[in-house]
Symmetry: C2
């Protein structure tokens, strides 16, 4: 019976989201439109808070909004087995591993360039010449 409705500002603060972003989520249909007060303010239920928390947490974990949509659809069905969710997460993990190794390669390359410009003018700069066509 705890019908404590939340304003958009409260919801935003509780989930570390900007107010505009909450409205954006509604616009793209990932967060259902809430009831309105007599003054036309959005009045969010605890369900909305839960759903938004879920969205934000998944976004923090690097899922795209499309992936979040898929996860939410699964959660809403409560029928299928967990395998689909697991697969989605595994796929996402593989992406993350790819990104990490790309960044590491980049890191190696870039850190090799740094510190080679002890003095001298741009003309001798190793960083710039490393970027120039061979």
């Amino acid at each position: 019976m705890e019908k404590a409705y939340h304003s958009i500002g409260e919801l935003a603060e509780a989930t570390d989201t900007k107010v505009e972003t909450v409205r954006y989520y509604e616009r793209i249909g990932i967060l259902p439109a809430p009831k309105r007060t007599s003054g036309n303010y959005r009045a969010y239920s605890a369900g909305h808070l839960a759903r938004l928390s879920f969205i934000r947490r998944a976004r923090d974990l690097g899922f795209t909004l499309d992936q979040v949509r898929a996860l939410l659809a699964l959660a809403d069905q409560k029928k299928q087995d967990c395998g689909t969710v697991d697969a989605l997460a595994r796929e996402h993990l593989a992406e993350i591993d790819r990104k990490i190794s790309d960044l590491k390669a980049l890191r190696r390359e870039l850190s090799g360039l740094i510190g080679q410009c002890k003095q001298g003018t741009i003309a001798d700069c190793r960083i710039l010449s490393a970027l120039s066509p061979r």
Copy 2:
């Protein structure tokens, strides 16, 4: 005297860039507009090729177009000392390190969730409940 001009398609292929992207770079002013043939085709010089190669390589290394602009401005001046370039690169390296450690934290979290859904319905799914508000 090797006035071998390149068509936009050749330039794009040589630098692993899409034709539209080359035109986009011209539009935003990072690649100078080349001469035109009598048929109004863009005719690129070796200088254009060099500059585009530089841009693409820097982009591959994760510099933003604004950062690339800064690097190009430095390279074009050929006056200042290398310190500015070095600082830019160091700053960028710090960013990369931040991204790597963020992704690693994420990886740990996500991989902990995977494989816990051996059976059972969505209702018991650990991944979904991990994402739900506590």
